[in-house]
Amino acid sequence: MAEAKKELKISRPYGQIRWENAFKRSLVIIALLMVVVVAGILLTLIIQSIPSLKSLGIKYLWGKTWDPINNVYGALPFLLGTLLTSFLALIISIPFSFSIAIYLGEYNPRGWLSNFLKNTVELIAAVPSVIYGFWGILVLVPIVQKLEIKLGVLPYGIGIFTASLVLAIMIIPYAASLGREMIKMVPSPLKEGAYSLGATRFEVIKNVILPYTKSGLFAGVLLSLGRALGETMAVTMVIGNTSTIPTSLFAPGNTMASVIANEFNEADHSLYWSALVELGLALFLVTVVINVIGKRIIKRFTNE
């Protein structure tokens, strides 16, 4: 025991304090490294898109034509395609993700069924997106084609609507997992208080749980949206890759991410290449803007 004490006295002042400092310093460095990486990416995008910015100017953003042969580049169809598919996917996914979150968070938080459901939902996020693309082409497209024939629109099968459906499934786990954690964390005195006042389970969910967790639920939705905005492979496979402004929900379209993925390999002249990088920059900025707006909304929720 005495020996242990001795060793302790020696090692504390030097070794341990140095260790504490080194640990803290490495944490800071690693965290700052991430900032450097993000800033570096932004800087690269800006520098590489200078030729395109110079030649096309601001009208790049609302130009409707994407013509690599004549060097005319307009990002509007892709901007619309990205926003349309992402928000449509979000609208489709929210009822599912919130239902899963409430059921697993409140009705059935423990037990094998709960675990099984939870793991299955999380598995959805782990499946590679190209598999969703395959599934979309093989299963979803024929179903949508039949629906389109019934609705009397051109039965392409692929298009904005199909892409949104695939995206919706892919993003469900993000909002569902976060929502479930939030709902589980609602303090039981709050819920018990409401029950003791005679509230039914639905009333507790509506008046206690949802108001208490709304910022967390919204953060989950934001996470889903971020995923939808950037998804490339699955969307490319089912959206139709047509560089025109979509005229209806069933029309083919294109998204910024899928244009980049499609055309980057063989972009054979520098302005074309630069225009594609600028598309990446635009996508980056769209994500930032949506994130900033989202953070604002979350802040307002939590302050109330």
Binding site: S26, D67, P68, I69, T236, P252, E263, E266
Partner: protein, 371 residues
């Protein structure tokens, strides 16, 4: 109390050990990344003259794999070919990180300017683009004329039973389906050949759209890769799309017979594609042989080239390395051609081989010819 403290100490020590272990791992990974990054550079200028580096066209990759494996067995020369797409191959050649690039199209004006010094285009094999379609009830090959194909892709012919289609397909009961046009969504040599053809046969296409690896399509849906286009065609009754001949043959797709410049109906096949290249070629071989003058040539075909620097002494390359490269390419256009037909590539025509020989002989090392 003391016991508690020492326990605490023990835990801290353990954490530190773990941390150090993790840190060590990270350092190792970082070192590996750095090594890999610098490795790319050093590999490129390696003086190991037994390994030749190439990059580019994915279209020709299956043929190259077979040819280079055989060449390796015969001569011990290893060829490391990365199938990254024509544009990427040209870029790597420009950056001098490979010995040769392979491309489905000749260098364009900008790429030529960027590379700065004279390069040689050596034809390797021919490929062709066929029109595939999905018309329920039609089991024979359809006939298509250049103007009909152009007008379908311009969106001017929208029904399969259009008078202009039925007029050239007498005796075939063509159902009244709307035409769904499918094209490649990714930039590709296949698209370059097809749009080069449309630009040649249709003045309207040439002014409105033009030819290139990726164009502003007036109508239609885009599929990613050959399998994307053929997927669209298979799934949609009334669809028409274009794919490589190899892809159509390997997947047993239905395809159209096309009228060539001399007015003959030509079925796409290895023989008719080879024939398309049997014409007078320009001295630098930089030509799209689409809409060929050859009477029995299939009109939508094109070469794949290997591109090398004319002056082989650059970046401190040895004469032995330059010789090894040229010998390989010489073998490719002669003995290597035997692998074309089994793999469904069209071998070079006599005229093309003759020209490629002449071009290879013009390569120099310090101004002196190598072969």
């Amino acid at each position: 109390m003391a016991g508690f403290k020492s326990l605490n100490h023990f835990i801290n020590k353990k954490i530190m050990k773990n941390f150090l272990r993790i840190a060590k791992q990270h350092i190792a990974v970082a070192a590996m990344v750095v090594a890999a990054a610098t490795g790319i550079q050093s590999k490129a200028i390696a003086q190991d003259d037994k390994t030749i580096l190439g990059a580019g066209s994915s279209f020709i990759n299956p043929l190259f794999s077979k040819q280079f494996a055989d060449y390796n067995a015969k001569t011990g020369i290893q060829v490391n070919y990365q199938s990254i797409g024509s544009g990427g191959g040209i870029l790597q050649l420009t950056n001098k990180t490979v010995d040769f690039g392979a491309s489905d199209g000749p260098l364009n004006a900008e790429q030529t300017a960027k590379i700065g010094v004279p390069v040689l285009h050596i034809t390797q094999a021919s490929g062709a683009v066929v029109l595939t379609y999905n018309l329920p009830g039609v089991n024979t090959h359809l006939n298509l004329t250049p103007d009909v194909i152009a007008d379908i892709y311009l969106g001017k012919i929208t029904k399969w039973d259009d008078a202009r289609i039925t007029a050239i397909n007498k005796g075939v009961a063509i159902p009244s389906f709307p035409i769904l046009v499918a094209h490649r969504s990714d930039g590709s040599g296949t698209t370059a050949i097809f749009t080069s053809y449309l630009s040649k046969v249709s003045p309207e296409w040439s002014t409105k759209v033009g030819g290139g690896g990726a164009v502003n399509w007036p109508v239609g849906l885009g599929g990613k890769g050959s399998e994307g286009v053929s997927g669209l065609v298979k799934q949609t009754p009334g669809a028409i799309g274009y794919v490589e001949l190899i892809y159509a043959l390997n997947n047993k797709l239905e395809y159209a017979q096309i009228r060539n410049k001399k007015g003959k109906w030509i079925m796409p096949s290895i023989a008719s594609v080879t024939a398309a290249g049997n014409v007078t070629l320009p001295d630098d071989s930089k030509i799209f042989i689409t809409d060929t003058d050859a009477p029995d040539g299939y009109p939508i075909s094109g070469f794949t080239w290997v591109i090398i620097y004319k002056e082989q002494n650059y970046n401190g390359r040895s004469l032995a390395r330059a010789q090894a490269l040229l010998k390989l390419l010489w073998w490719n256009i002669h003995d290597g051609q035997q692998y074309c037909t089994p793999l469904n590539y069209a071998p070079l025509s006599k005229a093309a081989v003759k020209l490629a020989e002449k071009i290879l002989k013009s390569a120099t090392y310090n101004g002196k010819s190598i072969l």
